[in-house]
């Protein structure tokens, strides 16, 4: 009887205690949830700010100012039969002079010529080589404008500041304005940016060479680092005996993750270039170095993923007679796959944006020709960004941002693939 009484009193007071604490606990719950939302909003805000600042700077590079010239392929000016080596610069100069016949002095002529890009000559050269029967005719051709003209048209260069504070003088601006009035100046989609290799003229510089280089490098890195990383994680986590040796390996891998990336460059220089004699500046070597650099990230993430597969899964598989290898490959690996893919995404993202180790193996270089394979000299997107960011010409500023946009697109595409895979494997139990 008395037992019953005390327990009912106890129950009563317990409920009271719970009731009393409830609102406090609910508040704590709401606060906690709010922290979560705030954290996500903060990170997304950072991402948004970065994106907006990049996009607003780089948007301009998608368009390039062109000037409409009426070019006469006069065989006198072209000079000689060999269309490959003809004087195309002369043709361009001639058509500019025709438009502004009042220009006489040498100095003025020079500033007139500089309104049009040096790439204009190559453009009309390609037209003429494709259609050799144009010789002697006159036709209207849109040619790229010089980067200074481009900056003026896009409004980066102010027209109302004193002459000494801008790169175009008053006469040049007058000429451009009269061209504008005649409708001979237009901003066109900048196809060259997506199809050309590097150049020292901003209006001719393109990202395609670096994109190819990045592609080759990343293919090598992905095909080496993902299988090797997953395999080492599997061995270390599932098969290796737990003893001092595996501890050493674990600490060692964690430690490799903290080695500065430039040190991997030193390693690549010593091992791949000097010892194995592989070619300098090649995506092959870049890919190998980046593989070594990303491996720790992938191994650590994969091991964490394997650790989080509950032991019951393994025990069940072993219980129905699967071998250790079958258990791991058929049951544990698929469950750990999302985590492994996350590690791979992050590792590859890091590899895609890395510059420092490539410095040591000669990939920080000026390379115009588009690489065709993994042993051709090439550069990669972040290096291209780094080099452009260091160029004096103002036109490279917006191109740097545009290149970053290309890099991010590359990254997003790469991630989308991995995210799709990850979604397929992901499971809660």
């Amino acid at each position: 009887m008395s037992d019953n009484l005390t327990s009912s009193i106890d129950r009563h007071s317990n409920t009271d205690i719970v009731q009393k604490g409830l609102s406090k606990r609910y508040n704590a719950e709401r606060r906690f949830k709010f922290y979560g939302i705030a954290a996500i909003c903060a990170s997304l805000m950072f991402l948004g700010v970065l994106f907006i600042s990049i996009a607003s700077n780089g948007y301009g590079a998608l368009f390039q100012t062109h000037i409409l010239l009426s070019v006469s392929f006069d065989s006198d000016i072209l000079g000689g039969e060999d269309l490959k080596r003809a004087n195309y610069q002369g043709v361009i100069k001639n058509s500019l002079l025709k438009m502004f016949p009042e220009v006489k002095s040498r100095r003025e002529k020079k500033s007139l010529y500089s309104l049009v890009s040096s790439g204009a000559a190559f453009k009309i050269r390609n037209i003429l080589i494709e259609n050799p029967d144009f010789v002697g005719q006159t036709m209207d051709v849109w040619v790229p404008a010089d980067d200074d003209t481009d900056m003026l048209i896009k409004g980066y260069m102010k027209r109302d500041v004193p002459e000494s504070e801008r790169r175009l003088n008053n006469r040049q601006i007058e000429w451009i304005e009269s061209l504008e009035k005649e409708g001979r100046v237009e901003k066109k989609f900048n196809l060259a940016f997506f199809t050309a290799g590097d150049s020292r003229e901003p209006e001719l510089a393109g990202i395609w060479g670096a994109t190819c280089g990045s592609f080759f490098t990343m293919i090598i890195t992905l095909f080496l680092s993902f299988p090797i990383g997953v395999a080492s994680a599997l061995y270390l986590e599932e098969f290796a005996p737990k003893n001092r040796w595996t501890d050493i390996i674990e600490v060692n891998i964690n430690n490799l993750a903290a080695v500065p990336s430039i040190v991997f460059g030193l390693l690549g220089l010593a091992v791949f270039l000097n010892f194995f004699g592989m070619p300098r500046s090649a995506p092959l070597v870049g890919g190998l170095v980046l593989t070594l650099m990303t491996l720790p990230t992938i191994i650590i993430a994969s091991r964490a993923a394997l650790k989080s597969v509950p032991p019951s899964i393994r025990e069940a598989a072993l219980g129905v007679g699967a071998s250790k290898m079958q258990t791991v490959i058929h049951h544990v690996l698929p469950l750990a796959m999302p985590g492994m893919l996350t590690g791979t995404i992050i590792g590859m993202a890091q590899a895609l944006g890395e510059t420092a180790p490539l410095l040591m193996i000669g990939m920080v270089a000026f390379i115009v020709d588009i690489p065709g394979g993994i042993t051709d000299p090439s550069t990669v997107l972040p290096v291209q960004i780094f080099l452009w960011a260091d160029s004096p010409e103002r036109g490279f500023l917006e191109r740097t941002s545009a290149a970053i946009m290309v890099l991010l697109t590359f990254l997003v595409l790469m991630n989308a693939l991995a995210v799709m895979l990850r979604k397929k494997f992901e499971k809660r139990w």
Partner: protein, 462 residues
């Protein structure tokens, strides 16, 4: 047959081997009263055939190609006219380059003389012969391997054990790569580091409070103090990493918790990849962001409160670095939190705990090893980061814990010492290697501590 096509053929052959082996094992099984009477499942017989078909042939293939080029080159050289043959080896190498250019139809340096042309033809014919014989040998080996396994397939053949042994061998081989990398790194910095310590005593390097690597590197140049005390540099690294972690750990962890426990599936599928983009933005971009937007902002804010903020403060670099490493923590933690079994949550809910209590008291402890793994990775990345600090925090080595001051980090010093105008026997350049080695040792110690700590607090559920 060119090597690429040959490789492809080999692949086809081993795929064929797989099907043949499996077919054969079905046949054998049926003869002996059903597949269940075989030692292993038919797939294993197939795999065994494919492995025997591919592995020996691949080994031969790669060895052949590895030696082919130098053998052919030597053969061609021995046929060259005497005056060229007697050139020193490095000059000869240039001539051979010219011949190879001629062979591959590239543009060559000068006029093509008949001798060169003959050499190029010789080279061409030798490499044709070599490729042809390689193709024959490789295909014969592949088919032989395939036939061999076909012959010995029987109910008693322990195919699964064989295949598993091969796989295990591959796994072990892969996990040793990390060890070799470490050995390689230690070897590639050790030699130079020892040379450095011959000039600068180790004690001065480890305990010195002044870092000013301005030792003259040329006879005609005089530097300033030339002090090589690494303490301020390491302090700078610790300071900046600590600031970065103060940003990244709370934001990253809370994001992970929200994504895995509160958010809907759709929201999570969108936000998680978005956050991962943060890790992939090139560090040059973060560098510009830190130097041109964050640093002036901090300086102006500091000015309002009457604080004297350096225009290149550790705070700016640390903050931006923290943003960069958020995904290391958020994504990896999200995965491990997600992998905590539902039964644990349900148990906690069943006892009446709220969601946040469940998370704090059940899920986080269960997921701790994985979370610590992610945090360690993030710390590692912070320690190894260079560009942001170069651009935003400068290179002045001040011994300070004030985040508003300018500091420098180990990696920044390594990079500037290595890529500047350098000479390879001056302590100034060698200091980079010493710093690398030192950093390696310091992080090693930190990792050992982390391992011990994690092991102590780790809880395995179920």
């Amino acid at each position: 047959m060119n090597p690429t096509i040959l490789l492809f053929t080999l692949l086809m052959l081993s795929a064929m081997g797989f099907y043949l082996g499996r077919q054969k094992s079905y046949a054998v099984g049926n003869k002996n009263g059903g597949v269940q009477h075989l030692h292993s499942r038919p797939t294993y017989y197939g795999s065994l055939t494919a492995l025997w078909c591919a592995i020996p042939a691949l080994i031969v293939f790669f060895f052949w190609l590895f030696f082919e080029s130098s053998i052919i080159t030597n053969l061609v050289i021995s046929n060259l006219p005497d005056p060229i043959r007697e050139l020193p080896p490095d000059r000869l190498n240039l001539v051979v380059n010219d011949i190879k250019n001629l062979v591959s139809g590239n543009i060559v340096s000068g006029k093509i003389d008949p001798g060169m042309k003959a050499a190029a033809d010789h080279y061409q014919s030798l490499s044709t012969v070599s490729h042809a014989s390689l193709s024959v040998i490789v295909i014969v080996i592949a088919i032989a391997g395939m036939m061999l396994v076909q012959r010995i397939i029987s109910p008693d053949l322990r195919a699964r054990n064989h295949v598993e042994r091969v796989i295990q061998f591959i796994l072990i081989a892969c996990s040793t790569i990390a060890i070799f990398t470490t050995i390689g790194i230690v070897l590639s910095v050790l030699y130079e580091a020892i040379r450095f310590f011959k000039v600068i005593p180790l004690t001065e390097f480890v305990t010195g409070l002044d870092w000013s690597p301005q030792m003259a590197i040329r006879a005609d140049q005089v530097g300033s103090s030339g002090a090589f005390g690494s303490v301020p540099v390491f302090m700078g690294t610790i300071l900046i990493s600590a600031i970065a972690m103060c940003v990244a750990v709370p934001i990253g962890l809370m994001s992970a918790i929200y994504l895995s426990e509160y958010a809907g599936r759709e929201f999570r599928n969108v936000v998680k990849p978005l956050l991962e983009i943060l890790a992939g933005i090139p560090t040059v971009v973060y560098g510009f962001f830190a130097a041109l937007i964050v640093a002036p902002m901090i300086r102006d804010t500091g000015g309002v409160f009457g604080l004297d903020v350096s225009s290149e403060s550790a705070l700016a670099a640390g903050l931006v670095m923290g943003i960069m490493i958020i995904p290391f923590i958020s994504s990896l933690s999200d995965d491990v939190i997600n992998a905590v079994p539902m039964s644990l949550r349900e148990g906690a809910y069943g006892l009446g705990s709220t969601k946040s209590e469940t998370i704090r008291q059940v899920i986080i402890p269960a997921a701790l090893p994985g979370i610590v793994g992610g945090v360690l990775l993030a710390v590692s990345r912070a320690i190894g980061e260079t560009m942001i600090v170069v651009m935003a925090a400068g290179m002045a080595a001040n011994l300070t814990v004030n985040p508003l001051n300018t500091v420098t980090t180990v990696t920044v010093q390594i990079v500037t010492l290595l890529v500047g105008d350098q000479e390879f026997d001056s302590p100034k350049t060698l200091a980079a290697f010493a710093l690398g080695l030192m950093l390696f040792i310091v992080t090693l110690i930190l990792n050992i501590i982390a391992l011990v700590v994690v092991r102590k607090y780790r809880e395995q559920y179920e």
